[in-house]
């Protein structure tokens, strides 16, 4: 909790401390009670039987190790992360091109670029993936990559635009004054600084991209979620809960690791380069993020 939030209420006096303690106890009891009640309720339905063994002892000739191998290697590594690793460099390259064309002095270059960002931020990623599968006859992997690339290019271009807008106007003016063309100014002065400022927001966008790979589940791309489904279809009904919970934990841990990286970079920029972090408005790793 930062000091900023502390300011919403007074530093509690003796009476408020007693009252807060009462609330704390009451609400803790309420929350823990609800969790315990849910657990007992689930226990009555036989949730805590040997079904969880599928996660360590395995079942039907599979060892627990092999189950995790399926989830983490076939699902996470060769499915989810593969799509991410293919998509990210393409997104970066296209987004830079789009950002540059968006700032072009010529109207006929600028307008289509602006149109692209507006249109593809407003169309569902899943629809683009379906377009890839049905209209372009792509493989599921390529369709997933297509969806991720088209949408995230538009979003990243938008983030970079905000970064360029946050730069002091003197940066561009100085570039032009020493005889750079507008394009050179963009490439050598504005864009590198925009990327630096927006690095936390850009890394947070990877979390969005990572979560969107799960749409591959719907178009039959084999990633973590599809692997989970295949596994629980194989092991039978009782394994649904352990496997879905395991997949959820994997997703949460991976995404938290990426978010942690964004926070770390943000903190490092703030301590090492106080001036570079100054226009961090909109670069807050959480606030600019969209589902």
């Amino acid at each position: 909790m930062s000091e900023k939030q502390q300011v919403l209420y007074d530093i509690p006096g003796p009476k408020a401390i007693r009252r807060d303690r009462l609330y704390t106890v009451l609400i803790s009891v309420l929350i823990i009670g609800a969790l315990v009640w849910l657990a007992i309720d689930a226990y009555r339905r036989g949730i805590f039987d040997d079904r969880w063994q599928v996660l360590w002892a395995g079942d039907k000739g599979f060892t627990g190790f092999e189950v995790w191998q399926r989830l983490l290697v076939d699902g996470l590594l060769l499915g989810t992360l593969k799509a991410v690793v293919i998509a990210v460099p393409i997104v970066v390259a296209f987004a830079m091109i789009l950002t540059i064309t968006r700032q072009a002095p010529t109207r006929w270059i600028r307008y289509p670029a602006i149109g692209f960002t507006h249109i593809f931020r407003g169309i569902p990623v899943l629809l683009i993936m379906y377009f890839g599968v049905i209209a372009m006859d792509l493989s599921p992997l390529m369709a997933v990559v297509l969806g991720l690339v088209v949408y995230n290019t538009a979003v990243v271009a938008e983030i970079l635009r905000a970064g360029i807008a946050a730069l002091p106007s003197g940066q561009r003016e100085a570039g032009l004054a020493i005889g750079f063309t507008p394009l050179q100014t963009m490439l050598r002065i504005q864009l590198p600084q925009a990327v630096r400022i927006m690095l936390p927001a850009l890394i947070s966008q990877i979390v969005v991209l990572l979560k969107d790979t799960s749409l591959g589940f719907i178009i039959a791309y084999v990633e973590l979620l599809t692997t989970t489904k295949n596994l629980y279809n194989f092991f039978g009904n009782s394994s649904v809960i352990p496997l879905v919970v395991a997949a959820m934990v994997v997703y949460i841990l991976v995404n938290m690791a990426v978010s942690r990286l964004a926070t770390y970079i943000e903190g490092r920029m703030r301590t090492r380069q106080p001036r570079a972090a100054a226009p961090a408005k909109g670069a807050d790793a959480g606030s600019g993020l969209v589902p």
């Binding site: 909790m1 930062s2 900023k4 939030q5 300011v7 919403l8 209420y9 007074d10 509690p12 807060d20 609330y23 704390t24 609400i27 803790s28 929350i31 849910l38 309720d41 689930a42 339905r45 949730i47 507006h118 249109i119 931020r121 407003g122 169309i123 569902p124 990623v125 899943l126 629809l127 379906y130 377009f131 049905i134 209209a135 979390v207 979560k211 969107d212 790979t213 799960s214 749409l215 589940f217 719907i218 979620l225 989970t228 489904k229 629980y232 009904n237 649904v240 809960i241 879905v244 959820m248 997703y251 949460i252 995404n255 938290m256 959480g286 606030s287 600019g288 993020l289 969209v290 589902p291």
Partner: protein, 217 residues
């Protein structure tokens, strides 16, 4: 394009389904998101912990996984059987979007000047009064543009329901595209335009508002 005109009722129905899920889940996620944000800044520690844990779990879980969870893991785990389709979609979307509403509102609360909350407290307002009558009304102003972007994404995310037995726009679009191989591009363009009708006004107004708020500061 003929396919779109021939199947106009189908598309119109699907459009209304998408719109219905968007509006109902949108209202629910807004209310729940604001409550979560209030929890997040409240003086009572367990509420803060609850809200932080909730946001961490649901924001880092893909929406598709939430649909799978509600469809296949929730019935045995909680004994809740949600009717497949629109209801499941509304519940999943509300649980998911509320975390983004919470984050947007929370960063808005942080953007309100310290003096405002101090002034409110010094005239004797309680925490709930400070938040409800002084801080939140001001926070909403700077929260509106990011919030609109959250809801643009929310509209698009309703398409995930297509994979879970809901006949909304994307589902109908793929059905028509598969049924009319000669007119695939036209069908996708039509469905895309139907989404843009909802999202484009929002994203453009967000952009306009953003520059307005930026100037007013």
């Amino acid at each position: 394009m003929g396919v779109l005109i021939d199947n106009f009722d189908l598309l119109w129905g699907a459009f209304l389904t998408t719109l219905g899920i968007t509006v109902v889940a949108g209202v629910l996620s807004f209310v729940w998101g604001v409550v979560l944000a209030a929890f997040r800044v409240s003086p009572v520690a367990p509420l803060r912990t609850f809200s932080a844990a909730y946001v961490t779990i649901f924001r880092n879980t893909p929406l598709t996984l939430l649909f799978v969870f509600l469809g296949s893991a929730a019935p045995p785990l909680f004994g809740i059987v949600l009717p497949l389709g629109v209801i499941t979609a509304i519940v999943a979307m509300s649980l998911y979007t509320s975390t983004f509403v919470c984050e947007a509102v929370r960063s808005g609360i942080n953007s309100v000047g310290v003096g405002q909350a101090e002034a409110a407290r010094s005239v004797g307002l309680t925490f709930i009064q400070t938040l409800g009558t002084v801080v939140l009304p001001q926070a909403f102003r700077s929260v509106v543009p990011p919030l609109i972007n959250v809801y643009v994404a929310h509209i698009k995310n309703t398409s995930v329901a297509a994979g879970f037995a809901t006949t909304e726009l994307t589902a109908i679009g793929t059905r028509l595209a598969n049924g009319n191989p000669g007119d695939v591009i036209g069908v996708f363009m039509g469905v895309g335009v139907a989404y843009l009708v909802m999202t484009l006004p929002l994203s453009i107004s967000a952009e306009k508002l953003e520059s307005k708020v930026a100037v007013a500061r």
